[in-house]
Symmetry: D2
Subunit: 311 residues, 4 copies
């Protein structure tokens, strides 16, 4: 294919823009044995590579293309060779590898989902139950000079059964909503947070697992402790608490669907249904309010893309 | 509509068979306040009614049809009036109501899913995190004479990282599988168990919540403690343990997909990948082995339908 | 394992009931080339075998167990050896094979889903678009003596924007629904139909593909042409039309969720929203009415299990 | 709330970044009657508003917040008042409304999914079948000065059963893939394309529905007609064809998962399985190659965000 004549770049009416490729959702499970006590890391790893890739798009010439099958093999081989210390540390290894070993690859982005398992309290310790609460996510990008590391989570469903109000809002000709002074506030947290660490000389990486656990704790505490006048207020409180307590985190972005719980009108059946008295709610699916925002350390750059928390 | 002439039953080439109708997946959340400590029950309730329903099918005459919207309203009103003590107790209330109050309804079947919430350890106690592990299910059927109560669960994912083998199987011309003396055994448990309780005079119902918790514990313990030569053997061990320890349960049926974890062949890359040494596995999606069976108390009737555990 | 002492059957408190095993969701695509014109059959095949399987459950002895991996291989090999004439014909081949070649296997049940592809009208003819309308399903059971063949479909979403009413229904203390004389009727059809063919000597099998296409046509026509006073009436009309026009079909069972479309109340905004004038509807997700029934040829046996249409 | 003292902006360690809010997935169905012939538009509409929203985040003061419930009501009222001519035209109406009528709202982004229905060929014409092929999507953003309109689709699954090769790629120590000179190429197209129209005075909007239909046609034709040496090459061919034939479109971005179809190795069973002869393939789920790129009109700006095609 190499010597097939190609139209000159200047004559194309349509040109190639930003692009990347790789293997998505490689499911890797690494078991570590410590005597009879086993440890498990269970990941889905997605590799996206970019660089000097014009020719494969314009002519199908694959010279610069490391096959996605190879990136999959690399994930498995690296899990064996280096272990999986944490999603972030594993992704750092992988991202550096592809750019260091393939000249046409200038940038590698590794996305990871991690599924948590709880070891059963039995002897010996090789039996696990999948926790099933949130999904931990991470994204590491390496452009040959600096790392950008994002931690995060999705599928974390939280609910306050009181201490939430909604009133004093703008009203127009299409407003019929009644004000509410004691409502349920529930949401499914999707969040991504950016670490300040860039891999520069002398910079120590965070203890990724500990950072994750602490951050989740701050999110939960802030949600629980905020007397909420709007879901936006709870969002800001969650983000601010993380930024204030975790110096390694520069910014955090949220996508918070308002999982509406409507108090059912039971008056037609002669029943009161007051919140103060223990009410019955209809948990609605769609439509839902959707609140999205970034909270940053004062002076930090905002780099988390808008839609990233909706993936 | 009543006097629209209808063809006589005898002349129809096509006749009506078994049928039922009702409102499915009514999502009801009941909050109970105990001072500042709140309690939550979060259910999806599906009502299915049957009885003297020929006319609505043959002619669209709705005289015997209590609207599904009414069954939905009833779920909400009963949650307020009676509370939700447990999925089973709530379903017993509902099932009896429809047959007792609607003459054409001869049988009611109530299916419930319950989603568990963990209260956060804060003061005061109104903040919750959805647990996200298994989904509890229950089915109560009432035909005007006796109850049939099934408990159960789905989405419970368990894994043993050793103590599982598979060898000595039948081989034919299409067999290529290698025997394995140290494999991962993982499955997503779906189970339904039938209680002996029928609501006869003098019969005490089980403590439903405690029965559920204990049963889940037995399933997990049996899975963990069985040195497994086949997923069938683990299934039987799980069922037998439940039957032996829970006198209120007559039979239990499982649908156990074998969530295959294949040890990756890393020899092309000069790497060993032995189980004994902490291996790397590929977690496969499809296809998957599927093991289904009922375990019964000796002498009990088998009444759980085959496909019920696949719902 | 064979001589490991086993407790005698009589002493077990818990005994094995109905059981089956096999490989589920083997995804097989068969391409046939007719010069430059290609044909595609795209199936998901699930094999379930049962027979003399006590030992594998009680002791893990696998002597009678043909591995599920082998059943997967067999699916692929049979697709190459015999082609895939239709889901039903392919399943008949497979079902007979397992019982004929494995003495402990007494019964085989093959379930198939088929995904339809439309060939693009280009030259040459090897480019396809997945149709994405309904999913065709089939189930073939063979017990060594007779076949039972079920056809069916799911995911077929239909809607009449008028010619549907709902009134004259039973009312109780929990009824608030208003009668409606011009509503949308929409449902997602899941149906299974049983063929009379059993594979007895001299019996000719139906032309499966033609039977399927004709049956779908009858379902759609009956839904469209029925002026409906209840979804039950539409269900019966659909079933009766199939039974009356397709002599090869003995019974058909439906699961019809009522996909509610509620006319939005726009009066608060000074807008009328009458059906006769082209209305705006809210398409609701949950809860939903669910109508399930079997329609049989007069005198036929009802053999389709209740929950089969909910899979 | 207004006079609750707030910390001054300068003293916050954590500050608010980009944010938006609104009601997501409002499901609206509009029926239009043309005598006995009905027309249906079936949309899911998501509204996202942004502007002067600091206070609701910092203090829960809702003065600037038009409730998401109101945005839902507006969707329904506008569907009645203006009809739904096309997803894009409907979204243009909505986007302008919110910024024009709410002073604190500076920007509105409306996302739409549309589900296609085919009218059955019956008399009269009020019966429909949901097509179920691709989902049409659109996004309209209005900042008070200019519109940005994106069309698009997702869930469009296409397959070429030949005329695809993959060879000549880079190889490293982790490469085991064999070159293939006759493979299946299949993908599920997700695409977003940006229109040049901005709503400036004198600019005529495209005929949105016709533009959509023509664009889908070009995508399908380009996929079918490209003899493909890489999925990247097919992607570029699809994008280039759109840009070259549709002057109203400035850029188009794709996310193309490589839906791998692996030729099954049947040699252990004494069977050949050559592509030329009509082969049997295993349709794999995960992992999958993922190819993402933008194709632009030469000189156009690239404005479609990277992750937008993964939503």
């Amino acid at each position: 294919m190499a010597d097939r004549p190609q139209p000159a770049r200047a004559t194309r009416p349509a040109v190639l823009g930003r692009n990347q490729y790789g293997k998505a959702e490689t499911r890797v499970v690494k078991v570590t044995r410590d005597g009879g006590t086993h440890h498990v890391r269970d990941l889905s790893v997605s590799v996206a590579l970019s660089g000097d890739m014009d020719e494969v798009h314009y002519s199908g010439t694959n010279t610069h293309v490391l096959p996605t099958d190879t990136t999959k093999n690399t994930v498995y081989a690296f899990a064996r060779r280096h272990g999986i210390e944490s999603p972030e540390a594993f992704a750092v290894h992988l991202a550096r590898h592809f750019t260091d070993t393939q000249e046409p690859i200038h940038r590698a982005r590794i996305r990871v989902e991690e599924y948590a398992w709880d070891r059963q309290d039995t002897v010996p310790g090789h039996s696990f139950v999948r926790r099933g609460r949130e999904t931990r996510v991470a994204q590491v990008t390496w452009d040959g000079e600096r790392f950008e590391v994002m931690g995060g989570l999705k599928d974390l469903v939280v609910m306050n059964t009181t201490a939430s109000e909604f009133w004093g809002y703008a009203k127009d000709a299409y407003t019929t909503l009644q004000e509410d002074y004691d409502r349920i506030l529930a949401t499914e947290v999707s969040a991504r947070w950016r670490h300040s660490w860039t891999g520069a000389a002398g910079e120590r990486p965070p203890a990724w697992d500990d950072s994750y656990e602490q951050t989740v704790g701050h999110l939960l505490t802030a949600f629980a402790d905020t007397y909420s006048l709007s879901l936006q207020q709870s969002l800001y409180a969650m983000g601010a608490r993380v930024v204030e307590h975790r110096p390694e985190i520069e910014e955090i972005r949220f996508s918070l669907p308002n999982k509406h719980h409507f108090r059912v009108d039971l008056e037609p059946f002669g029943l009161k249904n007051d919140a103060a008295d223990g009410a019955v709610y209809f948990a609605a699916d769609r439509p839902y309010g959707l609140i999205e925002a970034t909270v940053l350390r004062d002076g930090a750059d905002a780099r988390i893309p808008d839609d990233m928390t909706n993936l």
